[in-house]
């Protein structure tokens, strides 16, 4: 029996969008692990953590409440699961805040009525990584490995919003270990003391403050390089994009020579699980992960 979840994919995972490769590789590992993701019908954007100029507190809460209400209606008894850090954060924050405040709960429901929906607050909102760690476990994750990622050294870049303010149960904010454990479970070498593990990549400010944000990414890449990493792995769509696609711009500005692949944990796991380069979404790498391609094509 597959484990079923009410899945909130988020805008950037849609076809032809910036983290569509994360969705593809996530699907691939879920097939192996017996996880069934049921997409929340007609879900909407969570407004991420940048919608606040135009969107007030209540409109933003209403957006996430609508997604949870749709999940309650269509997928009762299934936890809401998101793969995107910002989607998870906004949805869980809304769930928590409406549980704490009767006033916000009532006001949000008044707004939701306009969309013909009701928020009851009966859902748990979880990150995909929580599902993997808590419902599957490191041991089982490792047991499906067909092609161990031997000899590859990987910097586990957790970033911000998968880690703060909620994080993963039992992990510290300053040095969470789960991503390193996942890397090890796939047969690769982790870098547990990677010192930019939970540093910020600038997030959405990469668009509005590119120079300040690229300076942050440069440090994340430098630290990975100096730790001997062959590649970076991350759970977050914004972290992935920011650490990958601006390397040319950073090289031009700082005279560095970065050419460091940055992959999703789901891509890493798909390759270790013996799936094709297509399933692992390796074609979605702007900086190709040649070491993973070699293993996948073996």
């Amino acid at each position: 029996m597959a484990k079923e979840y009410s899945y909130y994919p988020g805008c950037s995972s849609q076809k032809g969008a910036s983290s569509s490769n994360q969705l593809r590789s996530t699907q691939a590992i879920c097939d192996v692990l017996g996880i069934q993701l049921n997409e929340i019908p007609d879900w909407n954007c969570c407004s991420a953590s940048i919608g606040y100029a135009g969107g007030g507190e209540l409109p933003r809460l209403a957006l996430s409440a609508r997604n949870i209400a749709l999940s309650e209606k269509h997928h009762p008894n299934q936890d809401v699961v998101a793969t995107c850090a910002a989607c998870w954060l906004a949805t869980r924050e809304t769930n928590d805040r409406l549980a704490e405040s009767k006033e916000l709960f009532a006001e949000t429901n008044e707004a939701l009525k306009e969309a013909g929906l009701v928020f009851n607050g009966q859902k748990k909102v979880r990150h995909m990584v929580e599902v993997l760690i808590e419902d599957i476990g490191f041991e089982e994750m490792g047991s499906h490995v067909k092609k161990p990622l031997e000899g590859i050294k990987i910097a586990g870049y957790v970033g911000c919003q998968t880690n703060r303010p909620f994080g993963i149960n039992g992990e510290s904010f300053e040095n969470p270990m789960y991503l390193d454990k996942m890397v090890e479970a796939m047969g690769a070498d982790s870098i547990p003391d990677y010192d930019k593990k939970v540093a910020c990549c600038g997030g959405a400010l990469m668009f509005s403050e590119p120079e300040k944000s690229q300076a942050l990414v440069k440090e994340i890449l430098e630290s990975a390089h100096d730790s001997g990493a062959d590649m970076i792995v991350t759970p977050c769509p914004v972290c992935q994009m920011n650490t990958e696609v601006y390397q040319d711009a950073i090289n031009a500005k700082y005279g560095t020579k970065f050419n460091m692949p940055s992959v999703y944990y789901s891509t890493l796991m798909s390759v270790a699980y013996g799936q094709t380069t297509e399933q692992a979404a390796l074609s979605g790498q702007v900086i190709r992960a040649t070491k993973l391609e070699e293993i996948a094509n073996k």
Partner: protein
């Protein structure tokens, strides 16, 4: 009408999580933990003290809260557990409502475009958002930025992480009218609660 109006009361009433402001103990851990710390004209603890000191114009027309990357480091470390990230978003939103944001503030412009983009169809259209962002500082600036970003765009297109066809419409919710009615209602409820200054 009330006699004892002051800026702290205004923030408590009108800004998201504003009731936490007075609990700041001025330790500065937030400033030291912020990835863009050096770029804040007034770091969070200073903003909190300025609110208590009644420096309304200086706070709301400040560039500072627009430096927040939403990394939540300040929240994770604040010994008084202030939801600093949310207060900064709240101040930024309030300054926008009042028209006090410094002219040409880039994150304000982007954040507004993001909201406009998502509230149209319920989902973000990355292509349109990206293009509107390149051109937000005028046509010539837009051409320059587009050329600068050409290589990145090409990389995203080749890897199927950008779809030029999205310009024709693209992804969206089915129930856009319900979604928009919901957002309108939420804005109305919120506006009705704001205390007039």
């Amino acid at each position: 009408m009330k006699y004892r109006n002051n800026f702290l009361r205004e923030v408590e009433a009108n800004v998201e999580e504003g009731e936490w402001v007075k609990r700041c103990m001025q330790c500065g851990v937030c400033a030291g933990s912020c990835p863009l710390g050096p770029h804040w004209e007034h770091p969070p603890q200073e903003i909190f003290m300025m609110i208590r000191a009644g420096k309304r114009e200086e706070v709301l027309s400040s560039d500072s809260m627009w430096m927040c990357t939403s990394c939540y480091n300040c929240i994770a470390r604040c010994p008084r557990e202030l939801p600093i990230t949310h207060i900064m978003h709240g101040l930024a939103h309030y300054a926008t409502r009042l028209g006090l944001v410094p002219e040409n503030q880039q994150t304000n412009k982007f954040a507004q475009k993001f909201w406009d983009n998502l509230s149209k169809k319920g989902r973000v259209n990355e292509l349109k958002l990206g293009l509107s962002l390149y051109f937000m500082n005028g046509f010539m600036e837009g051409i320059k930025t587009s050329l600068k970003m050409q290589k990145i765009g090409l990389g995203m297109w080749k890897t199927k992480r950008m779809d030029p066809m999205e310009i024709l419409g693209g992804h969206g919710c089915e129930d856009t009218s319900g979604l928009q009615a919901m957002l309108k209602k939420a804005s109305e409820i919120e506006a009705a609660k704001k205390v007039k200054v």
